[in-house]
Structure formats: structure tokens, C-alpha cells
């Protein structure tokens, strides 16, 4: 194929809804949703604040197979409340990962995938969103001893707040160029620390710091993909083929303390970091 045909053959991952993203990744015809919209478990807290609920609370959980193996995919819907984690959406993701852990305790296997697209805690459910994120993190740490937990950050919301820690706990992370991964959103930093610390309107700067390309180049994420469902799927399958590593990224404490020691805080920028930490 020439470049033009390749471009036309692409199927955007980013433009899909959470539910469509899962369908695109699972083996054809194997998608089975758990606690779907017809189960109508909605946020008990949003209505109290005159905010319209959504019947799946912005989290889609499905089982199926991936590369012929049993799989679980949890996906966050960016179009509902910015992909924020409330009590119900957080509990759905935590429960799914806890049940996946149960599979291994029962002597079976399952491939867990999380599709991140979230600003973090849903502020209208503050402390219960935060509590759910702690439970999601606990489940990822317990589960990844048995199987890689693979995270995908598609775009355009990105992955922020407490959920960026959950992403960092994943065995491997797949990111598009459009995706961003950071703890504090640029707007929050500008608000807390001033525009001289970070101009949240400078999109080029933001993506150069926390975008998928930089994150993969400096070893804070694993695979960079184009916005194409086949590429995302191939990257996820490859991560499972590699299996559980001897050491997860969050266990490489001496390595990262040494890397941090190489950095001069007064003279650091995305390009300099690539020369210091670059993996390729």
C-alpha cells in the first residue's frame, strides 16, 4: 500500500466511545458487557447536585477473549464528566479487577486491560472517588503478580490525577501521540503555581512534556502507537506475550532515584530529558 492507502485504511481508536473501543480490541463476537446501562446502577451523588446521571456512570466493563485467551477490559468514557471517577464508575473498575484476581486464585487465567481516559477524581463525589481509586490501585498491584496488567491511554482527555498513579502501576502502557499522562493537569498547575510555572494554553509545550511520544522516549510508557485500532490491539497483545517482568517500573526504585539524580532542576526540558533518560 502507498502512504495514502495506509492512511485511509486506518480506523481511529480515539474517535470511538468506551464501548466501541472494547469491541475493537476483543476478538470478534466475544464482547459481553457486565453491569451495562440496562442494569442502571447510577451515581447516587450526582442527582443530589442536579447533575444528569448516565446509566453506566461512564465506565464500561466487558469480558471476552483477546488473542484467544479470556480477557477483561475496563474502559472509561471520556464523554461523560470528563472521564472522572465517581463512586460507581470507580467501583466497577475495582470490582472487575478484583474478580480478575479471583480467576487466578481459582487456578484460571484472564488478561486484564484498562483503557484510561480520565481527569481523575470526580469532584462532586470527591472522597468516594478517591477511595475507589485507592482500591483500583490495590487491585492492580495484587493482580500484576499473576499477569501483566496492560493500560492504554488513547486521547484526547488523557490520564490525570489519582488515575495517573493507577496507570503507572500497570505492567505496560500503550499511548498514542495524542494522549497525555500526568498527575496534575496543566490547568491545575497554572492555577496552583502561576502561569510562570506553566502556561496551560501552550499546547505544544504541554504535549512535548507529557504527551505519548515523550513518555515512551524517556521510558515512562512502553509503546507508542498511531491512532489506529489495529496498532493498539497489536501493542496490547505484544505486552501480554512478554509476560510478567522480573521488576515492574514502580519497583525500579534505585534506577529512578539514580535517574532523578542526573537531572539538574534548573536546566531540564523535554529534549534534555531524552538525552538523559532516553531508552533508544
Amino acid at each position: 500500500m502507498n502512504a495514502h492507502d495506509t492512511f485511509l485504511a486506518r480506523h481511529s481508536f480515539i474517535e470511538l466511545t468506551a464501548r466501541e473501543r472494547i469491541r475493537a480490541l476483543l476478538d470478534k463476537g466475544t464482547f459481553r458487557e457486565l453491569l451495562g446501562p440496562f442494569d442502571r446502577i447510577e451515581s447516587p451523588w450526582l442527582a443530589m447536585q442536579n447533575i444528569v446521571c448516565q446509566a453506566d456512570d461512564g465506565a464500561v466493563i466487558a469480558r471476552g477473549t483477546l488473542g484467544g485467551e479470556p480477557a477483561l477490559i475496563a474502559a472509561i468514557e471520556p464523554a461523560f464528566q470528563g472521564g472522572s471517577i465517581g463512586e460507581v464508575s470507580g467501583a466497577k473498575i475495582a470490582a472487575a479487577l478484583e474478580l480478575a484476581l479471583g480467576e487466578f486464585e481459582a487456578g484460571r487465567t484472564i488478561r486484564p486491560v484498562v483503557l484510561f481516559e480520565t481527569g481523575g477524581v470526580r469532584l462532586q463525589e470527591a472522597n468516594l472517588g478517591l477511595a475507589a481509586i485507592a482500591e483500583i490501585q490495590a487491585a492492580i498491584v495484587a493482580l500484576r503478580a499473576h499477569v501483566p496488567v496492560v493500560g492504554v491511554i488513547g486521547g484526547m482527555v488523557g490520564c490525570f490525577g489519582g488515575m495517573s498513579l493507577a496507570a503507572a502501576l500497570c505492567t505496560e502502557l500503550v499511548m498514542t501521540r495524542q494522549a497525555r499522562l500526568g498527575m496534575n493537569g496543566p490547568e491545575v498547575i497554572e492555577q496552583e503555581a502561576g502561569i510562570e510555572e506553566l502556561d496551560s494554553g501552550d499546547r505544544r509545550l504541554i504535549w512535548s512534556m507529557i504527551g505519548g511520544e515523550e513518555r515512551v522516549a524517556v521510558g515512562l510508557a512502553d509503546t507508542l502507537v498511531e491512532d489506529d485500532t489495529d496498532q493498539v490491539r497489536d501493542a496490547v497483545l505484544a505486552a501480554f506475550e512478554r509476560g510478567v517482568p522480573k521488576q515492574h517500573r514502580t519497583e525500579n526504585i534505585d534506577g529512578f532515584i539514580a535517574r532523578l539524580a542526573q537531572v539538574n532542576p534548573d536546566a531540564i526540558d523535554p529534549d534534555t530529558l531524552r538525552t538523559l533518560w532516553g531508552t533508544s
Binding site: 447516587p44 466493563i61 498491584v141 498513579l165 498527575m183 514502580t250 532542576p265 530529558l273
Partner: protein, 271 residues
């Protein structure tokens, strides 16, 4: 720089023996006795000389996250072959995560995740991990330092709070006044900044009332030590996961949706 100790330092001094080593940097690791047993205590303290200027206060930044992870893992390693694992206590007084462009570029999310991992791994290895909230326990900083504990104990005193965002920032983001945010917290429990409201979510093992958090008396200190020892005992008799947070009477009331989601997903899991 003032000589005033932060809450975290003050309580660490109250609960542990003085360190034999010179202490510097943002993380304190000390040993203390709980019910005649050796326990490890960890705190994040202000570090005015920190080379990352946005992380000089008692906040969790890049170095704080990684150094916490290292300190907690040293305790795990020391007990690798021990039949009974030592208690680990996170003394929580953390205002926030560090907000800065260097922090984001250099992966503060990963540094904090490393601390999450260390505490969770300690819990899974059989250490009773207890969080003692003596000051603010805010958002990502609390996730990194305290929220992976088997049991959470908090002082009900001015200045202790658990929340996802500081009150002023939350007011800006939700376009409310600080006063209306307080009023909202009285009806929407998870929005409240009051420790007594947090206790009603069912996530706490114990809310300790009537203790002077800034200047604890020897009676106060003994009371907190007794509570920590009781939490350790309870943790040893329970599971190593966080399921206990859904088991209390308060959780059954306030986190009913969290429980219902798990019940129904289990039903549909193998259908």
C-alpha cells in the same frame, strides 16, 4: 525558616525513639514500640532545601515518592524471613502533591505510584499497615502515603482533613463559594471537609476524639499508641486486601453503591 515542627514531625517524635542517625531530606523513617513490639513509622516532613522548589513543604513530590518507596521496602526486606511482620505506620500530614512543570516532566505520577506500590506490597506481604492521620491527607499525596493501609486511624482535631482537592481550589473549579461548599458537604457526605463526615463513609477504623493534635499530652500520646496497637491487632486478624473498608455499618449505609456494584458484577461475572 521557623523552628516550629510540622504536625507529622511532632507526632513522629511523640510516637518513636529519637533517631540514632542524622536525619535530613523530606522523609523520616523511625522505629517505635507498639504494645511491646517494634514498629516502623514513616512521615513526610517539610524540606526547605529540597532541590525541587515546588516540593519544599510537606507535600509529596518526586523525591518524596521515591524515597518513601525505598524506606517502606527496606522494612519489607528486613522482615523477609520473619514469621511475624512488623507493623508499619504512615504518619499522615501531607498538604498535597507537588504542583510543578518539572514534577510532571520527570514523572511525579510514577514516583507517587512507587510509594503506593511499596505500601500495598507491605500489606500483601503480611505487614499490618496503619495510616495515622494527624494533619491534612490530601488527594494524590494521601494515595501515595496512607491510603493503601489495612486500617486508617484519624485524629478528630482542627487541621485534619481528607479530600480530593483543597477547599479554595475546589470552590474555584465547581464555581461555588467556600461557604456554599461547606453547606454542600453537610448534605453530600463525600464532599465534606469534616473528619466526622469522612468517618461516616466507613473507611476509617477509628476516629480518635479529644486529642490535642498540635501539643499532645502524654495521656494523648498513650491513647494514640493504644489505638495503633489495637488497629495492628485487628489488621492481623483480617484479610490482606482492602475489603474491610466495605464491611462496616457506616460503609453499608454510605457506600451501598460500592457494595451493590461488587455483588451484581460477581453475579454476572461467570454467567
Amino acid at each position: 525558616m521557623t523552628d516550629a515542627l510540622s504536625r507529622g514531625e511532632r507526632w513522629l517524635d511523640a510516637l518513636t525513639s529519637p533517631s540514632t542517625r542524622t536525619e535530613s531530606g523530606p522523609i523520616r523513617a523511625r522505629d517505635g514500640q507498639l504494645d511491646g513490639e517494634r514498629a516502623s513509622f514513616f512521615a513526610v516532613v517539610p524540606d526547605p532545601e529540597n532541590r525541587f522548589p515546588r516540593a519544599a513543604d510537606n507535600v509529596v513530590g518526586l523525591e518524596q515518592g521515591w524515597l518513601l518507596a525505598r524506606a517502606v521496602r527496606e522494612a519489607i526486606d528486613a522482615d523477609r524471613d520473619a514469621g511475624v511482620k512488623r507493623p508499619i505506620v504512615a504518619v499522615v500530614d501531607v498538604k498535597s502533591q507537588a504542583y510543578g512543570r518539572r514534577e510532571e516532566l520527570l514523572g511525579i505520577h510514577l514516583a507517587c505510584a512507587a510509594a503506593v506500590d511499596a505500601y500495598a506490597s507491605a500489606r500483601l506481604a503480611g505487614h499490618p499497615v496503619i495510616a495515622l492521620i494527624v494533619g491534612p491527607a490530601m488527594s494524590g499525596a494521601y494515595l501515595a502515603h496512607g491510603y493503601q493501609a489495612n486500617r486508617i486511624v484519624a485524629l478528630d482535631a482542627p487541621g485534619t482533613a481528607v479530600h480530593a482537592m483543597g477547599k479554595e481550589a475546589a470552590a474555584r473549579v465547581t464555581r461555588r463559594s467556600v461557604e456554599s461548599l461547606d453547606a454542600l458537604g453537610d448534605t453530600v457526605l463525600p464532599m465534606s471537609y469534616k473528619m466526622s463526615a469522612y468517618a461516616k463513609l466507613g473507611l476509617l477504623h477509628e476516629l480518635i476524639e479529644g486529642v490535642d493534635a498540635d501539643a499532645p499530652s502524654s495521656v494523648d500520646i498513650e491513647r494514640v499508641k493504644a489505638s495503633l496497637a489495637a488497629a495492628v491487632k485487628d489488621a492481623r486478624n483480617g484479610p490482606r486486601d482492602l475489603s474491610v473498608r466495605l464491611a462496616s455499618a457506616d460503609a453499608k449505609r454510605t457506600r451501598a453503591a460500592s457494595i451493590e456494584v461488587r455483588r451484581r458484577m460477581r453475579e454476572q461475572w461467570s454467567a
